[in-house]
Symmetry: C2
Subunit: 224 residues, 2 copies
């Protein structure tokens, strides 16, 4: 067990965010390259200390916005990681969150503070700082079950999308194939989508109907 440097007199609180998107046919997380010594060149989920006059939820929203610029996406508390030796800089307890953002040509802005900001597929993660491997693993598990009984995919898809897009998103995250006919039947029966008049154009195949979610709020609905 590493020695804890009591930089703070009591345990203090940080928030870390596992930011997911689906990109290039893979579930990916946003990681930041560390420049500080014990974790030099390792990667970590974005995070930071909770400020004295800021709620933990707000800290999570702030960090998410700082790194991605997005604000109105699904963001939920995941779990609190409180091992004594999880942070070599001091006694820091991390309240972890996870967020789902659509892959809409988001520009990642790095800063001098970090060695880079990049998406990494969850099935091929680099070496991670702190206990972030555990945190991300936990977030992936949670995301998988959450997809099955809520409508939160809305936060991974663009405003308008095809049923094929939606099914592919499920297949990528759940890592299994779904039956097209059963999937469409199920989803349409739930009445959580409304069809637009539009269809996809310019693709090398038959145009597909575009849908949008009726509600962009998380709701519990048995989906699969």
């Amino acid at each position: 067990m590493p020695k804890i440097q009591p930089k703070y007199k009591f345990a203090v609180i940080a928030a870390d965010i596992v930011i997911f998107t689906v990109k290039d046919g893979k579930l990916q997380v946003l990681l930041i390259k560390m420049k500080k010594k014990p974790f030099l060149d390792m990667w970590a989920a974005p995070g930071g200390l909770v400020r004295p006059l800021e709620s933990v939820d707000n800290a999570a929203r702030r960090i998410l916005k700082e790194k991605t610029g997005v604000t109105d996406v699904f963001l939920e508390q995941l779990y609190t990681f409180g091992r004594v030796d999880r942070d070599p800089f001091g006694r820091v307890v991390s309240v972890a969150y996870y967020a789902l953002i659509p892959n809409a040509g988001l520009k990642l802005k790095t800063s001098a503070e970090y060695g880079g900001v990049e998406w990494h597929p969850v099935d091929k993660l680099p070496e991670l700082a702190y206990d972030h491997q555990e945190i991300i693993g936990c977030a992936v598990k949670r995301l998988r079950v959450k997809l099955e009984y809520t409508n939160v995919v809305y936060s991974l898809l663009p405003e308008e999308f095809t049923l094929g897009d939606m099914q592919k998103t499920y297949e990528i995250i759940l890592d299994r194939e779904l039956d097209k006919r059963n999937f469409r039947k199920k989803i349409l029966a739930l009445k959580i989508l409304k069809a637009t008049e539009k269809k996809t154009i310019g693709e090398a195949n038959r145009p597909a109907a575009l849908y949008r979610f009726l509600s962009h709020r998380p709701e519990n609905i048995e989906i699969l």
Copy 2:
């Protein structure tokens, strides 16, 4: 919004435990009567600051043991409550846990520090300190869903129990009646119990077979 007294320079961490049992045909929680000023004579779930060299999980276990003496029961992290003004004594973030303990003639020991320790039915709670009403409400919700897809009732029942005891526990917590035949069929089909040779004796009705859980570890199993 009340003014925060910066007793600590940063936010510090406490653990609060919602301790459940089923007693007198009701789901009950263990509460402590406060003696400190802004919450004088109000009740609260047991809790305390996390010590600098103690993990948050260990703090929860410690507090549970201090108040009840029990150790090997189901104890799980619930949620972290991080509103800025949740504690008038300072910036304290609470990692809430919930525990399930069997109602086996547990003796509650009060201390000079508190005005009393008592069980209270969750459907008739007194006025609660801090945000503990929210925390307990959250714990009850979680317990209800958890009962449906895990075996955690084991931690509310004695070592040996009848199927009637088990069904009653479900009915009390879920607050709805269950069909006796369907319940027994389902539970026995899951193979999570083993029948003992024994039967209840001395009751004013037909003796019932006594069962025990095969495993006393939390497992995900579709129960209802």
